[in-house]
Symmetry: C2
Subunit: 159 residues, 2 copies
DNA sequence: GGCCTGACTTGCGTATGCTGAAGTCAGCAC
DNA sequence: GTGCTGACTTCAGCATACGCAAGTCAGGCC
């Protein structure tokens, strides 16, 4: 059970999940669209207004995100209106909530304005603020030096 | 204690911590450099080789990251070598670990290769894998619909 | 004094992401 | 059929990020 950091040059970073995740959600506007989608936004013009990017950029980004299966483009019809399309979160998209939450926590701490955070996510049952924290599968909270990095099945070794 | 999602257009997303975080760590290579730094990499040429970006891009990115105080450029001297500089994580940089971990978790689940993940972070004490999860300050684990979004002190209302 | 190495810098060319202004298109309301 | 609206598309034009190739520069080693 050797720690991979001890011999960092014996393995490569091809097949890295962080890199593949960044290929999909790596742009600023994609993350901000996810922020809005997780707050409940679904319609094109609401995304444009609330995220603050132009229509052409939004159309391109939404198209990418539907192709990446973060969002689904679904027809709907309000009474007396014609059929429109809305962008609904998929499971894959909704699973980005820990990423967005971790980013928001970090921004609140390290890129704060002097006014403090604009919004706070709280636990519905008890009202306490929510944070993204590290836990092992046994339920232990992780503190800074407690981590080992070990090989997974997809590790590519050199030599 | 109204939920802000109920009237999304009564407030704006200026002063958003997610957006400010993305302004600092929003590019693919910045995240991959953080991944390497968190694995212990410190020297310029190691970053170039392990992250897989060219020297000019790496020099520019490291300069930005030092300016953003994610890394510190520190002189050091190995015996019999001349003085060099290494890039050490600051507290601000190290605090991005939950973000990187959440991204890695998501990539492992939703952007996996058929070989499985290349590396796994485990708890040193018990060996169980580590994940970024959502918890409230009272220690409750958060499940999907359990979240309220409430106003913070920095919220900017419309009208 | 010349070589070597690590850490860059300079100088291209290309790709992507964005903006702003204007145009398109479908279909309900009148 | 004309207007209106939401949801785009098209068309410049710009800034950033990146790649590759080559050049620079400092200082210990021989």
């Amino acid at each position: 059970m050797e720690d991979l950091r001890d011999d960092r040059d014996s393995w490569t970073s091809e097949n890295c999940s962080v890199a593949r995740a960044m290929d999909i959600v790596g742009s600023r506007s994609t993350v901000l669209i996810m922020r809005e989608a997780l707050l409940g936004t679904r319609r094109f013009d609401d995304f444009v207004r609330r995220v603050g990017v132009g229509e052409p950029a939004m159309a391109a980004r939404l198209k990418d995100m539907v192709a990446a299966e973060l969002l689904e483009r679904i027809p709907y019809r309000e009474p007396g209106q014609r059929t429109r399309h809305e962008y609904q979160l998929t499971r894959k998209g909704r699973d980005l909530l820990p990423v967005i939450t971790a980013l928001r926590n970090w921004g609140d701490t390290w890129a704060a304005t002097d006014t403090g955070p604009s919004v706070v996510a709280t636990h519905h049952d008890c009202g306490e603020p929510i944070r993204a924290v590290l836990r092992c599968a046994a339920g232990h909270e992780i503190t800074d030096g407690d981590i080992d990095i070990i090989a997974g099945p997809g590790l590519i070794r050199r030599d």
